[in-house]
């Protein structure tokens, strides 16, 4: 059993699995049960400034995308920050932290954009003995209309300013939670770093309309005939989140900045992928909202078994391990040639590879009268679409051409590494030296 103990910006937790700031972490009852289930840490649902509590809608707060078996693939929400009194939340945070010293407890915050507002709430949070704070610059709905959440997160200068206020007014570590609803995720991360952030966490939810009711002609979730854009999360957003995490991890300006990975983490494997791309830990929400707290047991056993198999003794052995292999398109090896190979023993003769290739790609698969499908190497560009549409895993594979083997499509023998930067068709190619 691998050691999953993790220290993230000085905050210790028995495993790298934290619950993200969201409905599951809105109150003591939930957080205690999450810890009992095995979660290594919790980011308490976002607190706002003292005063009349936030008001939520009283109709549906969530919209969903399902697979045909009604597996939840994506969830959208229009819930605001906590609608419970600040005093109650702070009291509960203090009690929970007192009883669960070995678990991480970070408090998410969102207050108006004045230094006094941040200073006031930071002081209150410090009194709870919480391990740190996370600045919610991400929520794309509701609070953003009031100049908070993603309204801050979309302006790097504001991120830097608020982060600096926080660092100047607290001894606690500060995590800046980033919104994905921007053009270039590196800019807000750089701003957070300039402001003194100890870490960034990402992604927050993606602005979205999940679906349209074709009878009401209104977006879903629909309240009294109207709907609004909400924050999208769940398995569907994972590829977007992975890329954003990787972009920050490999950006020279932010390299080494700790990252807490968020976005569709559902299984141990998802967590390991985020960590390989540079996340020091992960935060989970939609998966527990779908299946309950117990899933952490699978995440713990799965990550542990994987680490054992790889010989990793610490999660730090995994973190960032894939980052050096994330590169720009221009550096990909244009002389790396592969061809699709269809295993006739595994083929069930559905013909999907043929339809995909014949109708939409390179006409590189032949179909015989008795439904035998074979690759025409002289046409195959190795796009991989046949592999992706084949319902049988492992039936179609990509064969790497042997050194010196002639590519039947181009008539050229495979050669050593060469990329676009030196390609003759590239007008800006540098002359060979």
């Amino acid at each position: 059993m691998a050691d999953l103990n993790t220290t993230f910006i000085g905050i210790k937790s028995p495993n790298p699995f934290w619950l993200a700031s969201a409905p599951p972490t809105d109150k003591e009852y939930n957080v205690r049960r999450a810890y009992q289930a095995g979660w290594g840490g919790v980011v308490w649902k976002t607190l706002g400034e003292d005063g009349p509590p936030v008001v939520n809608v009283n109709g549906p707060r969530y919209g969903a995308i399902w697979g045909a078996d009604r597996r939840l693939l994506g969830l959208n929400n229009i819930e605001l920050i906590t609608d419970r009194p600040l005093e109650v939340n702070l009291r509960e945070i203090k009690q929970v932290k007192r009883d669960w010293r070995d678990r991480a407890l970070v408090v998410s915050l969102m207050v108006p954009c004045t230094e006094d507002s941040w200073k006031a709430i930071l002081k209150r949070v410090e009194e709870t003995d919480a391990d740190g704070v996370e600045l919610n610059f991400g929520c794309p709905h509701g609070m953003a209309e009031r100049g908070m959440g993603s309204a801050v997160g979309q302006v790097p200068e504001y991120i830097e300013m608020v982060t600096r206020w926080c660092k100047e007014n607290t001894r606690m570590p500060v995590i800046v939670k980033l919104t994905p609803n921007i053009a270039d995720i590196r800019k807000p991360a750089e701003a957070a770093l300039r402001g003194g952030a100890d870490a960034v966490s990402l992604i927050n939810t993606i602005n979205s309309i999940t679906s349209v009711d074709l009878d009401l002609f209104a977006p879903q979730p629909t309240l009294d005939g109207k709907g609004t854009h909400g924050g999208y999360c769940g398995p569907a957003v994972k590829p977007i989140a992975l890329n954003m995490v990787a972009e920050i991890a490999r950006n020279p300006a932010t390299r080494g900045l700790p990252i807490s990975g968020i976005g569709g983490v559902t299984t141990w494997r998802d967590a390991a992928e985020f960590m390989a791309l540079g996340a020091g830990n992960v935060q989970v929400c939609t998966a527990v909202m779908t299946y309950g707290f117990k899933i952490v047991q699978e995440m713990i056993s799965g990550l542990s078994d994987y680490m054992d198999a790889k010989g990793f003794t610490s999660t730090s052995d995994l973190v960032g391990r894939a980052v050096p292999n994330v590169t720009d398109w221009q550096y990909l090896n244009l002389n790396y040639v592969t061809k699709a190979v269809i295993s006739q023993a595994d083929c069930i003769k559905c013909g999907r590879c043929y339809a995909a290739c014949e109708d939409t790609s390179h006409q590189a698969i032949a179909m015989s009268a008795d439904r035998v499908f074979t690759v025409k190497e002289e046409e195959c560009v190795a796009c991989n679409l046949c592999v992706d549409v084949c319902p049988v895993a492992g039936c179609i594979t990509m064969r790497e051409l042997a050194p010196g083997e002639v590519d039947k499509r181009t008539g050229r023998a495979t050669a050593a590494y060469a990329n676009w930067t030196t390609h003759p068709n590239n007008p800006s190619a540098r002359a060979a030296e």
């Binding site: 697979g67 045909a68 078996d69 009604r70 069930i348 003769k349 559905c350 013909g351 999907r352 043929y354 339809a355 179909m367 439904r371 319902p391 049988v392």
Partner: protein, 445 residues
């Protein structure tokens, strides 16, 4: 009620009403909306799909399943009915494991095909329950066609002809239309009066006049029909049954299995239908299975199917065989009847084991006897009644192309015509294709 499964001889009311109702309920309950969506999602939408090739009516199965998956079951039903107007019955009775589901790539991949039959029923049930009719008849052509036999072939032919604007008179010898759908299938496959409901729904196309109680050679001749119509289609099925050719065959309670099934289908109260304590069925096709299983469901204590060849050679599908054995029917393969014993009524049947020989099956010297209060024969059917003045091929009407007989303007299809494989779905395909051929012929005339 005093009778039970142990009552000697042939007796009615061996089971109480509740047991009978449960036994004859829908053998394959319909899929719910959610089940259908999950089942539909398993379809890979194959290119040039093998299931379509395997379907005698060439229904575009991947398309209709995708239409179910996208919440448009009525569009799915139109896809089905465009090829097979009796898609409702076929969804219930097709031996899908030998047809579409047997060809499904998921059968090859994991031994668990997409539930095409159940999905077809889901779609067709929805559209039929909505009332109305999915097709609109073309403007009348003024052409008249006689369709003889209101079974699957005749109904299919009549519907397509009417759709194309021809005026169809649909003759049938029995009181009700439907043919084998009404009189020949196991009750638990088409419960709830489905066969009649389907006929009524099918006739909504308009342009079809049904004449019941009209038998060819009894109420009129083929020449009469030819004189009064531009074309004639014969879908008269096989009304006669093959005999065992054994002494004792005339004993009471030695009956064609088809008679037993027909009486059961038409019985208003199954508790009044007598059945033997010991029932023996000779044969290996669907008729044998349907008679045996329903005997058991009526309360017979011991029901045995005896088939002369190996079990693998039984014409009934493996699924049907398993259904029989799961229902408590015993199957004895490789044995043929050699003698029937009894006084007044049958009491016992003697069988000899068989083995393949150089000149076909031969009897061995090993024999056994089975008690039999009833002996049902299901060893094939033949053309019945007045021989039609048409060239025959074996025991069936000879046809070339799309059901063309030796007489001009006379077509034949379904079980009575040569070819095909005695399946409902094949009869539907033949009826439809004949209709298209008649249509082409009438247009060209």
């Amino acid at each position: 009620m005093t009778n039970s499964q142990l009552t000697p001889g042939v007796a009615a009311g061996r089971l109480d009403a509740a047991h009978l109702a449960a036994n004859f309920a829908d053998v394959a309950p319909p899929l719910g909306m959610y089940e259908a969506r999950v089942a539909a999602d398993r379809c890979y939408f194959c290119f040039d799909a093998p299931c379509v090739t395997a379907c005698p009516t060439s229904i575009d199965i991947p398309l209709f399943i995708r239409q179910i998956a996208t919440d448009t079951p009525e569009a799915a039903a139109r896809t089905i009915f465009a090829q097979n107007i009796l898609g409702g019955t076929c969804a219930r009775v097709c031996p899908t494991e030998n047809l579409c589901e047997g060809a499904c790539v998921r059968e090859a991949a994991e031994g668990k095909p997409v539930e095409i039959g159940a999905l077809q029923r889901f779609a067709t049930d929805r559209l039929m329950a909505a009332g109305g009719h999915p097709f609109t008849r073309a403007a009348p052509t003024g052409r008249k066609v006689a369709v003889v036999g209101a079974g699957p072939a005749g109904l299919s032919c009549a519907h397509r002809l009417a759709l194309l604007g021809h005026a169809v008179t649909l003759y049938d010898a029995r009181p009700k239309a439907g043919g084998l759908n009404e009189y020949g299938l196991a009750a638990y496959k088409v419960p709830g009066g489905f066969a009649q409901a389907e006929v009524e729904w099918l006739l909504k196309i308009g342009g079809i006049a049904v004449v019941s109680g009209w038998a060819l050679g009894r109420e009129g001749s083929l020449d009469d029909l030819r004189a009064g119509h531009d074309a004639v289609f014969l879908g008269i099925g096989l009304g006669g049954v093959n005999a065992l050719g054994l002494a004792g065959e005339q004993l009471d309670q030695v009956l064609p299995a088809t008679d037993f099934i027909r009486e059961l289908r038409q019985a208003s109260d199954l508790a009044q239908l007598p059945v033997g304590r010991d029932v023996v069925v000779v044969g290996g096709g669907m008729t044998a299975i349907d008679a045996a299983v329903q005997s058991k469901l009526l309360g017979a204590e011991n029901v045995t199917i005896v088939y002369r060849r190996s079990q693998a050679e039984m014409p009934a599908s493996r699924h049907e065989q398993d259904h029989a054995t799961a229902s408590g029917v015993k199957i004895i393969p490789n044995a043929a009847p050699v003698a029937i014993f009894g006084a007044g009524a049958v009491r016992e049947v003697e069988f000899a084991y068989t083995r393949p020989g150089p000149k076909g099956l031969e009897l061995t010297s090993q024999t056994f006897r089975l008690k039999a209060d009833q002996l049902f024969t299901a060893i094939g059917q033949r053309l019945a009644g007045t021989p039609v003045p048409l060239a025959l091929d074996g025991n069936k009407i000879a046809v070339t192309g799309a059901g063309r007989t030796s007489l001009p303007n006379v077509w034949a299809g379904g079980d009575c015509a040569v070819g095909g494989d005695d399946l409902t779905v094949t009869a539907v395909a033949e009826g439809r294709d004949v209709a298209m051929d008649i249509h082409a012929s009438l247009k060209g005339a």
